[in-house]
Amino acid sequence: MALLDVENLSVEFPSRRGTFVAVNGVTIAVQPGEILGVVGESGAGKSTIGNAVIGLLEPPGRIGAGQIRLDGQRIDDLDDDAKRRIRGRRVSMIFQDPQTSLDPLQTIESQLVETIRVHLGLDHRAAQARAVDLLRQVGIPEPELRVKLYPHQFSGGMRQRVVIALALCAEPEVVVADEPTTALDVSIQAQILTLLKRLCRDKRVGMIVITHDMGVIAEITDRVAVMYRGKVVEEGPTSKILGDPDHPYTRALIGAVPRPDLRLHRFPYVDYIEGIAEKPAAISLKDHWLGRSRDFQRRHDGPLLELRDLSIRFPLNTAWLERNRRYVDAVKGVSFAIREGETFGLVGESGSGKSTIARLITQLYRPSGGSVVFDGTDVTALKRDRDLNPFRRQIQMVFQDPYSSLNPRMRVLDIVAEPIRFHRLAGSRAEVNRIVRDLLDHVGLGAKAAEKYPHEFSGGQRQRIVIARALATRPRFLICDEPTSALDVSIQAQILNLLKDLQEELRLTMLFISHDLPVIRQMCDRVGVMRFGQLLEVAPTEELFVSPQHPYTQELLSLMPNFRGLTHRGLDVEDRATG
């Protein structure tokens, strides 16, 4: 008998459109001191399992069949009172976002003390001592002082440590951690995972870690259950599942994970996810509408895009007098050049100024110093729309969030046609329609998508619409600002494939911005590393991954998740890093 047994569990959500079965006959078990990973993509039902275990299914969700047993006793059919006594005391939960899982109006101490007193019945003084002790255990320095602070006085990583302390304060037997590191930067993710692993071993707690991230799975779990559409398709020891998966979905999922240690020509195709045509027929630039982008004449032989000592600062306040104003330097003296046809990567943690550079190149922001030179012309010196529009046509952008980058009130046809109409790239209405359908077909959506509205598409499909819109001006230069960080890994793989194909066919020059080093490695020829608005290092991709020069780059690389155990089966490997 295991510590926690989930047997044949089904969770259903009835609605007026029929009953949706989120979890369908799932059986998993956790032993004391063991970490079980539940991995899957969005909508697979992995969080629903966690919520069912802790007894917090959101209405109208209900358990349709099966049992959940803690130490042999059923806990799924208890009444609310009995469930509340178990929750937090014997089974507790760590949530994804440390910003919202702590009460901002109470000190850490009062939140911890309240929970401890409710569950363990200690007096106030003993509870206080225990709170300080817990903070020490989760690695918060000077816990006697820090315990008096409010949540906003902690950084994101420290706050997640507090959340963990809160989850552990009643000595639970089982902890459910739902995406415990997804909201954190990589450097902090590594620390939190190490902490979870240590606490689990020391306290003999059974832990379920729910995540979409193969890196987290590889890092801390002992066993892993792979979920697809509400079912566990494969379960076993982590090394077995990652190294030698049996189920085709697991294999496809692992194949879609970008690796820091090897570069693929293309990601393997995951036919489990969306009905996307594998690869549309290649475009012959000579007779295709998109091929006419070659109507731009190269004006000089230098790099296509050059940033010269580019800076921008944003005012922090709006004082009337210049001397009272304060500024923050978002980008400080950045210079680099991108040659025609190459993919240049920009990498850095949040707030490093990567996205600001994209917005400076596209003229959404005006620089406070330096210049953007495109094909020999200083674009930042141009003021009038008449002079700027030819350059706007040549530089287009793909955004991070596919949910906010499409106007929800416009049909896909009008979204993609807008740039064509604005720049008068087609003669008649019929020609515009034909071109839009062709573009949609080419990004793998099919011409029928034109008549629909954005909300009828999934995140990955929306990103394809965004790409079609960016291509509609027949650009030469494409900026991709975190184009896949909001997407599931298998969908990310397909979007990266699409971008690679388009770049090869259309001979696009690309600026690829990402916080994700493995993704950068797959996509880029050269990479620039940014921190605090400054460019620290520029190097060819292979060189950067094998022998990073700047200490910060070395640190970033050392924090990448370790994927050595992942299978290489069926991968189209281009080259391997030896470092």
Binding site: D385, Q396, Q400
Partner: protein
């Protein structure tokens, strides 16, 4: 047809047919609006036709009381006008003034709100300060002021038939601030979204961005406020007419009817003001309930 089936399948429609309050108030609003629109067809008399009025049939009580005349179901007023017919025609003027002034307020408020929210900076500061100043006066006071000024400016003979336009203008001007503030906030949120940035990268100008991209995405809350403000505008019109600065007694609105009846209330002739009053309450109440339902149904946080 496909649009219609899309609507009947929507959550909004579903919530509508499952909320009895919404159904009843929508039905009541529809009946009142239909009655007002079809006044010449359904009203037994034409209260504006002076030739048909007979001073002998003035001050008649409703039909179920002693001395009641079957020709005048709800009795007559001091000039022998049929109260029921006067209500039909009066509701017409009340609704006309209500809808027109809301439309005017929406036009002004949404335009200023969009400009304010999208451009920001000095334009925003200027528009919002004007709004702040206007908010420090009660709307009815501003309407009274505009009405008074208009009366002073217009020649005497024009006043009678210009009265409705003056009212619409006065009520419209006094209500734009709420729209402007709501739209400004929503436009600020929308203009930071990436689809607006995409349009700017393409090169599309601010007017087209506001019209094509931002406006359709901020209209939801405007619709809710407009519904609730329609009731408010009808009340404001009634108040102004009751105070004697609204429409003249020759073409009475519901408010004018209540004022006329008010003089006879204490001599026992209650029907002249009570019946128009009841209709006014029903109209305002049903429009208000409809607005409340719409606000809740469109707010995902309350579901």
């Amino acid at each position: 047809m496909s649009f219609l089936s899309g609507f009947t399948d929507s959550d909004l429609w579903h919530s509508f047919i499952r909320t009895p309050t919404a159904l009843v108030s929508a039905l009541l609003t529809l009946i009142l609006i239909a009655g007002a629109l079809a006044a010449p067809l359904v009203a037994p008399h034409n209260p504006f036709d002076l030739a048909s009025l007979d001073i002998m049939s003035a001050h008649l009580p409703p039909v179920w009381m002693k001395d009641g005349d079957p020709a005048f179901l709800l009795g007559t007023d001091d000039q022998g006008r049929d109260v029921l017919s006067a209500i039909f025609y009066g509701a017409r003027i009340s609704l006309l003034v209500g809808f027109a002034s809301v439309l005017l307020a929406v036009l002004i408020g949404v335009t200023l709100g969009l400009v304010s929210g999208y451009l920001g900076g000095r334009a925003d500061a200027a528009i919002m300060r004007v709004a702040d100043v206007q908010l420090s006066f009660p709307a009815i006071l501003i309407a009274l002021l505009i009405d008074g000024v208009a009366r002073g400016v217009l020649p005497r003979e024009a006043q009678e038939h210009m009265a409705v336009y003056v009212l619409v203008f006065a009520i419209g001007i006094s209500n734009w601030v709420q729209y402007a503030r709501t739209v400004r906030g929503a436009a600020m949120v929308e203009s930071r979204k990436e689809y607006v940035q995409a349009a700017r990268i393409i090169g599309i100008g601010p007017v087209a961005i506001l019209w094509r991209h931002i406006l359709p995405n901020v209209l939801g809350p405007v619709l809710v406020i407009a519904t609730i403000n329609l009731a408010l505008a009808i009340i404001t019109e009634a108040t102004l007419s009751f105070l004697g600065v609204g429409v003249p007694p020759t073409t009475p609105s519901l408010g004018t009817l209540i004022r006329i009846g008010n003089d006879y209330l204490f001599s026992g002739e209650w029907w002249i003001s009570i019946f128009p009053g009841v209709v006014l309450v029903l109209l305002v109440l049903s429009v208000n309930l409809l607005g409340d339902w719409l606000r809740d149904a469109l707010n995902p946080k309350l579901r």
